[in-house]
């Protein structure tokens, strides 16, 4: 089953997503990237109905890029999140809504602080210090209640993330094997090997 995790720390957001793409009980692919880099300082992890996730994330990706080309500066994390949430909320009342859950991690280059938004397919949005989607969230959220530290360095943050992944791998019946991890901070978004 699909899992998305994200943790904020001192000046950064870590976003992690499993890399399996499954249909029914069959694994179709084990190296799928479910985290899109929307702008130099914005990451979006997505899960949900397979076709919808691709369609919606590409739609978002291109609209964010269009804004950047038109207005010379990119949307900030909270402005982008508000726009994305509205897109999902409008889709919800259409004939065929997108069934997509999102985690949006970004770094505000004006105010110099990290932001993380939890968004689900119903168009709910909340800003949170850490977040998760999928069955893994039942285990990970309580773990993060205990171990999350907003002042943690990147190394400490990654250690906490590894703890979360280990717990999910240990306790969830059908747990994915591999995760892709990306980080966004003042230097922009990049992938990290764990």
């Amino acid at each position: 089953m699909e899992n998305l995790f994200a943790i904020t720390g001192k000046g950064y957001v870590i976003v992690a997503a499993d890399t399996t793409s499954a249909r029914s009980i069959v694994k179709m692919k084990v190296d799928e990237d479910k985290i899109k880099v929307l702008s130099p300082h914005l990451l979006m992890a997505y899960s949900g109905e397979p076709g919808d996730t691709i369609q919606f994330s590409e739609y978002v990706e291109r609209n964010i890029r269009l804004f950047q080309i038109r207005n010379t500066y990119p949307l900030g994390p909270s402005a982008a999140a508000s726009w994305i949430r509205r897109s999902l909320a409008e889709s919800l009342r259409s004939r065929k809504p997108y069934a997509v859950n999102l985690l949006l991690g970004g770094y505000d280059t004006n105010k110099h602080e990290p932001h993380l938004f939890w968004v689900d397919y119903l168009g709910t949005m909340t800003e949170v210090p850490f977040a998760a989607h999928g069955y893994g969230s039942y285990f990970v959220l309580s773990l993060l209640d205990r171990y999350h530290n907003p002042e943690a360095s990147l190394e400490e943050g990654l250690a906490t993330l590894k703890r979360c992944i280990a717990e999910v791998t240990k306790r969830v019946v059908v747990s994915p094997g591999q995760y892709k991890v990306k980080v966004v901070d003042k230097d922009g978004a990049r992938e990290i090997e764990i």
């Binding site: 949307l75 909270s78 508000s82």
Partner: protein, 239 residues
């Protein structure tokens, strides 16, 4: 363009920690009922300075009815941005929105362009304090100090002489009022002829704070700057 060069002067000066706008009211007279404007209604005392959004004030010069329609459009555009992005519209983006519309009216026959020039004084996190000017053709540009309306050439050259970089708001207020008193047709400077507004940052919340002065506040300000009612003073002295 002709209407704008006859309209009351609007002056804007950008400072390090704020922006200052002042405007000359042309529609005055003994018989004009100003009792409604006495208190200074929401968003300005009536004629030339308007609150466009919580972070932007606009000064207009030109055909008043056109200006009203543009102010209405600007306020809608700002609220639309707030609704979709949950943040105050950046100043340049609002100027662009209006200019896109103004340009449209220059391209097709049959319609008359808006006979209005605007000054936008605003704040956003991208470029901090800003001052923009837009004309009826849809051109816009950013300024440190500029002027539209009657005598804008004189005011412009006065500003060019007196403007210094790293100006603070209180210096900018003085500069604006001095330039205004020199360029206005009448020698008296008082609340019935003048509109005045300042945009600064709230020291506690760090959010932009727009203050459009009420008539009584304008008189008090002129008093403190030593520019109030020169002719009355001399009349009193001679009496």
């Amino acid at each position: 363009m002709e209407a704008i060069s006859r309209a009351g002067t609007v002056l804007g000066v950008l400072a390090k920690d704020g922006v200052v706008l002042a405007a000359e009211k042309k529609v005055t007279g003994k018989l004009l009922d100003l009792s409604g404007a006495k208190e200074g209604g929401y968003g300005g005392s009536g004629e030339k300075i308007y609150l466009l959004n919580s972070n932007i004030i606009g000064g207009v010069a030109g055909i008043t009815s056109d200006a009203n329609s543009l102010v209405n459009y600007a306020r809608s555009a700002a609220q639309r941005h707030l609704l979709t992005y949950n943040e105050d519209i950046p100043v340049e983006l609002l100027a662009q929105r209006l200019c896109d519309m103004k340009q449209g009216y220059t391209q097709y026959g049959g319609l008359r362009p808006f006979g209005v020039s605007l000054l936008y004084a605003g704040y956003d996190p991208h470029y901090q304090f800003q001052l923009y000017h837009s004309d009826p053709s849809g051109n816009y540009s950013g300024w440190k100090a500029t002027c539209i309306g009657a005598n804008n050439g004189t005011a412009q050259s006065l500003l060019k002489q007196e403007y210094k970089d790293d100006l603070e708001v209180k210096d900018a207020i003085g500069l604006v009022l001095r330039t205004m008193s020199k360029t206005m047709d009448s020698t008296t400077l008082g609340s019935e002829k003048l509109e005045f507004a300042v945009l600064t940052l709230d020291p506690t919340t760090k959010e932009p704070k727009a203050k459009i002065y009420r008539p009584a506040e304008i008189d008090a300000l002129l008093e403190s700057e030593g520019l109030a009612k020169k002719d009355e003073d001399t009349a009193k002295r001679s009496a």
